[in-house]
Assembly symmetry: C2
Homo-oligomer: 474 residues x 2
């Protein structure tokens, strides 16, 4: 497939042709989400936000601007982000007394408010989320959806009484993201980042690294245990049952909407265009009548009947009645947009009161009775998701390759553009050498399963502490 040969070109073509994103906006790193792309975003958000609601998170909306002094309060955090924030210095023709920055992430917007809201143990846990755009002045080359200066995400922020509760929250967050990614059929590694690469201000960071056809991993979500770092900086304390005042323990996690859209495209789509998981497809089923002069009237009426039946079941269905296109052109068009199921309704279908169902993935067809259409479509949706998931999983398995020495490490990451699995002693010197010889980064060790190193450190030959994954990244 083209996507494994020339990923960039293939990807840019799809996001342009399928109305996902228009990157011609006249500011570098900023782009327009067009209708198809934005509807996918909204559908993903709906799944995610429902799950967050069900698990006791509440939606809020915080300002896009953060005052300089709040931003500066947690020292590691400002060190990590200050080189990449946009500064608002003027309004109208006046200079502002206090400079404002566009949120690169919202800890420093939210936590001054948390300090006002949290008084006693009865106010905890506090679990807040918002779905917004954030702003980072990326100095690396920007890439549509993958690396933008404005990108969409959902961020959740929680405060707890104890470290144990925060740890439990980290696991809940991983469960929530895993649930959503499963409904999108995505494959990824859940990695605990090495300390030198954790979120600025966190005790530790966990990330979801999705595979990408060009071998560069795509971080689609992160979960951080912040410990008491921000609580100390922002004086977020609560009065405990014993009357003592204690710092809260915090977590935060981010779901990268723009990057998840990128991952859906990159993992599932093919040379015909987009392939969408049924749950997030703006149109899940497209009906295309096959018209011949003599039977056009009957077939059109039947197609309308099929449409009404499918629509009333709650499925997002579209009846394509445009007149200046052949059925073949319509097939091609909707394949490009990744509509999961096509329903063909021809004279024979009409006569026998059948419908012909065609899956976008694999393009297999089957004929079912009109009365069974809705059930059959729902089964197809499940089948499609399973297929997407399995296919994506098997690529991930194929993409992860054990490196036995520096030469094979370099070959795996640099030449073959894969993810190397490596034993590492945890020293920074060896991490540097791994980076140098592979051109990739240590992304971390598996969080969901324990992997014991069975070889010495790939660089120094001393005892290895961790099995880590090395890859180039977006």
């Amino acid at each position: 497939m083209k996507k494994f040969e020339n990923f960039s070109e293939w990807f840019d073509e799809i996001i342009f042709n399928a109305d996902i994103l228009d990157a011609r906006y006249p500011v570098k790193g900023f782009a327009v989400y067009k209708v198809w792309g934005f509807r996918i975003v909204k559908n993903i958000l709906e799944i995610l936000e429902r799950k967050l609601d069900e698990t006791g998170h509440v939606p809020m909306l915080f300002p896009v601007v953060i005052p300089e002094d709040a931003f500066a309060r947690e020292s590691e955090h400002i060190k990590g982000f200050s080189s990449e924030v946009f500064w608002i210095t003027h309004a109208g023709d006046r200079e502002l007394d206090k400079k404002l920055l566009l949120r690169p992430t919202s800890e420093t917007a939210m936590y001054p408010m948390f300090a006002l809201w949290i008084r006693s143990h009865a106010d905890l846990p506090l679990k807040v989320y918002q779905s917004v755009a954030v702003y980072r002045y990326e100095t690396k080359a920007t890439r549509p959806l993958f690396r933008m200066r404005e990108f969409l995400w959902n961020e959740a922020h929680t405060a707890h009484k104890t470290w144990e509760e925060a740890e439990k929250q980290v696991r809940e967050a991983i469960g929530i993201y895993s649930y959503v990614f499963k409904r999108l059929g995505l494959s990824y590694l859940i990695l605990r980042r090495p300390d030198f690469d954790k979120f600025a201000g966190a005790v530790y960071s966990i990330a979801f690294d999705a595979w990408n056809p060009d071998g560069r991993v795509n971080q689609i979500g992160t979960v951080h245990n912040l410990g008491e770092n921000f609580a100390k900086a922002f004086e977020i304390t609560y009065e405990d049952v014993d009357g003592k005042h204690r710092n809260v323990v915090q977590t935060c996690y981010g779901f990268g909407l723009s990057r998840v859209v990128a991952a859906i495209i990159a993992q599932h789509s093919d040379d015909h265009g987009l392939i969408l998981p049924p749950d997030v497809a703006p149109i899940q089923v497209v009906i295309i009548p096959i018209l011949y002069k003599e039977t056009a009237h009957e077939v059109n009426a039947y197609a309308k009947e099929v449409y009404e039946t499918i629509k009333s079941s709650g499925i997002r269905v579209h009846l394509d009645t445009t007149e200046d296109k052949t059925p073949g052109e319509k097939f091609y068009y909707w394949e490009m947009f990744g509509v999961p199921v096509r329903v063909e309704v021809g004279p024979r279908d009409q006569r026998e009161r059948n419908v012909t169902l065609v899956k976008r993935v694999g393009l297999q067809r089957r004929v079912v009775k009109f009365e069974e259409a809705v059930t059959a479509i729902r089964e197809l949706f499940d089948e499609i998701l399973r297929e997407l998931e399995e296919r994506s999983n098997s690529v991930l398995k194929e993409f992860v390759v054990d490196a036995v020495d520096q030469l094979s490490l370099s070959e795996i990451v640099k030449l073959k553009r894969r993810i190397a699995r490596v034993c590492w002693c945890e020293s920074l010197e060896c991490a540097d050498k791994i980076r140098e010889s592979s051109g990739g980064e240590i992304r971390g060790y598996r969080f969901d399963i324990e992997e014991k190193p069975d070889k010495p450190c790939i660089i120094c030959g001393r005892e290895a502490k961790r099995v880590v994954y090395v890859a180039r990244a977006y």
Copy 2:
């Protein structure tokens, strides 16, 4: 009611107590939408966006930043907005080559893209919307929800082949907004703004001015016919059927989400707190079990059964099982949050398999059979909305007062804090004098009905051209 006596204090108390907005964010004019307020916003948006979708608008998302040169292309537009935009001048520690501004509205973000997208008559009409925050450096005093430097809105932008089609679009837009406002029970005047007060760059502007208890009108929506002004500035042309290239004709309209929330609170709520129209209440029905020791078990089980039945009907229902509050405290609490219907379930209700329904507005009670509960609640919703609408309408009628001379004009607007209905000759001199003597502004003349002046101009005594409405405004 307090709201007619001391509006500001009453309003600030409600938005704080009912978790609408926290205005203590450390940047002036920026605030946090808390859970109840943000859920109301989301529910309003759902109604509005569905209607926009149904009428052929498509959702997109444009960047928050606009480059200086695009902003400057339409001369009236930049004149109107340049004094109130936020400027981004730096990123990290570098100065940007090209200054960026935060969108105060999105014409100049969208129309360079429209110029790329529109090629032929087949691309028209183009009808796009987005729901976002916009940024204006207000120099007047900021007020939560009413006048903020960051406020939420939905903006739609359309392009058409002809002036006639644009005119039709203006009427469609007014119809859409009227539909949504009706579902919120709001009352307002639809006014065509005088030319000196139209949107910067428009041919003409129409606005929805909602009444407010303090007599200052609250502009909750605007609709503009832009003619070819922006099309010329941004070179948005299409090839017509005859092969000639023509400018598109554009309209745009904005639905002020923050201000609509303000209007809902201001028009409907009372001294007990918020009153919400059922369609946008985050919780539409709250069930409160009335527990006595002996029957607590049965009543709780029955309340659960009532809850499940109501929930499965799709109504947003909450069962309040908190244990440290009396039923009376719970009544008080949920009244403050404006939940439209309270269901009381006591021992007698349980024995007789009834439920007691209490409306938030008026607090009337009625007892209905369990089997009829869902139907009765839905009827109550309709009844509540009708009541809110009628009540609000009658206040609006009372608020509009005919001014016969300058003295009565001054009295109506300044002292009585009402909206004056005035005959005006359309001269700017008289407009100035109207402003001076009333402290208010000419908001415009009725767009939905034709009103013929039956008196001379209130200032100069010459023939009046228009019946206009004069009020102070947010």
